[in-house]
Subunit: 480 residues, 2 copies
């Protein structure tokens, strides 16, 4: 597939150069001591008083030389390993929502570790998803177990790659201990590190925080998988211009990439973004807007220039229901990103601007993901697929319905969805006149009513629970 | 914008050549006598017994030489004229559904001329739409006035270009009489022919019908605007292969184009398609499937090779409700087609595989259309839009909220939708927890409750009603 492009080659180069100019002349405010020290060591000018770091172009260009073109998500079960960009689109859940739409009442409430267990199992089973980014927080986390109360139910119930973040170093260390327990040893875990870390160390405009930056440095030093997402919001933390927002975000990406490559040249990265335009009538956050998709597409062009995988939080919705709005917002922006060449889609399951997980939305996004994967396969051009002999045989006015070729190819040529209806109206009415969300919730119910095949062994579970006293139960329990 | 491509240049050429091979070796079954005579006259071999026409390559290649790169939709009000491809995306309603979802009851029923009047006025007012293709049939049409009962309310209430078809020559002549009455004279009408005709003379596979072909010939002979849509359905009337369906459809397009260009070299055309893949689990028609979008994209690559405008019925849905399914089906396929370079989008307002018009769906599609138009404008790269001075001025950690630049650019940089919600959940709840369709119906109600500015003068209306006794009322009347 030849990807869609908004920019010419010259415009891409100009954005790169403009990003270098911003890093050299305006600089980045770096709040983390270790990061400032690293930047100083590699030739940046560091103002100790203000924390301002300025980047000579050659420092950034040197870091660029060690960029690598792939990024691997490792899973507990190796059959679920995924490598960007070739396995793309890699479809991931949206993450860390505080709330969930209760599947029984339809009301929003705080999410718990039991919810995470159910979601993890659902994502393990839904064919459209490749990676489980832990969708919610856990309100019931015992003191001192904020993150482990999320990662334990996630890793227990989903054998696809699990991804999330931690708020501080103590939590990160606990999560890595859990990983080593599951792997059987530190060495086994380091050989296949199936916890995939994600942070937002860059705060637009041009600022680097303390805690997330600390976590990134720690993980990169140990060779563990981590990447960051760049999140400028035009109108508030970035200029009200798409081209400028791509440029500012690109400068921020390069600042973070320079840090990572200076610590460990060749460390895999993803050029991940959630660049947005604020709805300035109210200042509301608008991740479902078409401009989010366009910005992703623009950043992807920059990532392709740097030859690194790209993507991010794309396909989000502002809607609080899984309705026509959530459908077209997710559908339009993910399609745009796919056709620009993005390979990572953190899209699934969230409503209301990343505030709440919804089971029906997750099922929907799995079906949207199947469409994206079909589109990525493209037209499958070959002389055989032109079917010239078959067209001659069937002839003008003939029918292909009972041709062997039709039967043989019907399940691979087309996506055959489970939830989308294709029935004529009479049949659809006689089957209860359901809307898509009703059927999506039924599909979630069907999956979650089965016995969960993804659990830990009793032995391993006892070991983990012995290591972390008071740990949440972490079992998928569905009672709709 | 550099468009997305599934095919390489060589593959496009091969599909063109394979289409020529099909036309030369397999041929087209032509049921219309006049068409057969025209084909015979330009060098095709015509089998009088069977009606089979075979096309030497040079005949098709000669026709290709007179293809023109633009197509104009003329409107009653010249400010609404649109030229493909440069004014694209040209967004059009879906057409000729037998039914409507009653705005009061939500039940499906047969559509009437009053419905057409209301729809025409709505499309006149909705900013996303450029052309009104008459969305429904009119169940209440008096005997002998099947088509005029559709075109009269349409032309009375919508001053944007109006498009539709007629089932026979008598109806076509009536419709043209109506056009001349509105224009004031035959000459005035011919100077600005604001009725835009559309037919499907090609019936896949490789067959040409009687009545639609007759209408196309009649209109092309007179220099009136007309184009045809190609509609292969993989698994039933075309092979179960996307590449083969593009090839078969391309051959059918070339057969029709050869007829048109032979009658009047340089007649404007649109490479319009509704190529689909059947859901072979049931044989159901699946215009909402992702493969419909992909086929449109493939055909658009062929149209770009021929340098003619392209598009068609794209963004349709199988859903019977305006729900998440209708949202993502319309959103994904229209985005794909846009990024492949299509400029005509016959997408708006229909549910249930083109069977029923829905007012809320039309409002939704107007909002989706605004997103497509924004995406088409692209990143608006310029040195000024990189905002490097502004970024330096605001600096790391600053805010763009109160910058003059933000205020100046907030309404042009981003689409600011009326129906999509961007409110936080608390506000959305306090405003009634509406779903998108509820708000879309409110928007339709708001528009249709206004006085209709698009009517005919009393004098003209009396003239028309005198010419066509028993004509339907044709007035937009809204009473929700």
């Amino acid at each position: 597939m030849q990807y869609n492009r908004f920019f010419t080659d010259d415009q891409v180069k100009r954005i790169h150069e403009a990003s270098l100019e911003l890093l050299e002349n305006v600089g980045v405010l770096v709040h983390n001591d270790k990061a400032r020290a690293i930047y100083g060591k590699i030739g940046c000018s560091v103002d100790v008083q203000s924390g301002m770091v300025k980047f000579p172009s050659q420092v950034v260009e040197k870091a660029r030389q060690s960029f690598v073109p792939t990024y691997t998500f490792t899973a507990q079960n190796p059959k679920f390993d995924k490598v960007l960009p070739n396995d793309g689109p890699i479809v991931v859940t949206g993450s860390s929502a505080p709330n969930i739409i209760d599947p029984k009442t339809g009301e929003e409430r705080r999410a718990t570790s039991d919810d995470i267990a159910n979601i993890a199992y659902l994502i393990n089973e839904l064919p459209g998803f490749d990676v489980f980014s832990i969708s919610t927080l856990a309100e019931d986390a015992p003191p001192g177990q904020f993150s482990i109360s999320r990662f334990y139910p996630a890793l227990k119930n989903c054998k696809k790659p699990v991804r999330s973040n931690t708020p501080n170093m103590k939590d990160l260390e606990q999560v890595l201990e859990l990983g080593e327990l599951i792997a059987g040893s530190k060495e086994a875990y380091m050989a296949r590190p199936f916890i995939n870390h994600h942070y937002c160390p860059m705060v637009a405009p041009l600022t680097m925080d303390v805690e997330s930056t600390e976590a990134v440095i720690y993980l990169v030093e140990r060779g563990l998988p981590v990447y960051g997402t760049i999140v400028p919001n035009a109108g508030l933390t970035s200029p009200m211009s798409l081209a400028a927002t791509v440029t500012l975000g690109n400068a921020e990406f390069l600042a973070l990439a320079t840090l990572i490559q200076s610590i460990r040249p060749g460390a895999p990265m993803i050029y991940a973004v959630l660049s947005t335009v604020a709805d300035m009538r109210t200042g509301n956050y608008a991740p479902g807007a078409i401009e989010t998709g366009m910005l992703q597409m623009g950043h992807t062009e920059m990532a392709n220039y740097y030859n690194i995988p790209s993507g991010g939080y794309i396909g989000l919705t502002n809607s609080h229901l899984n309705d026509a709005q959530s459908g077209y917002e997710t559908g339009m922006n993910t399609t745009g990103a796919l056709l620009a060449g993005a390979s990572l889609f953190n899209m699934g399951g969230l409503l209301g601007s990343l505030m709440a997980f919804d089971f029906g939305k997750a099922v929907t996004d799995s079906e949207i993901a199947m469409n994206l994967k079909r589109m990525k396969r493209g037209m499958e051009f070959s002389e055989e697929n032109l079917c010239l002999d078959l067209i001659a045989k069937v002839g003008p006015g003939g029918s292909y319905m009972s041709e062997k070729h039709t039967v043989k190819k019907m399940r691979t040529t087309a996506v055959l969805p489970n939830v989308a209806t294709r029935e004529m109206r009479g049949r659809w009415e006689s089957e209860g006149r359901t809307d898509y969300q009703t059927r999506a919730m039924r599909e979630a119910d069907r999956i979650l009513s089965q016995e969960n095949p993804a659990k830990f062994s009793a032995e391993l579970d006892a070991k983990i629970r012995g290591h972390f006293p008071n740990l949440v139960a972490g079992d998928a329990k569905w009672d709709l």
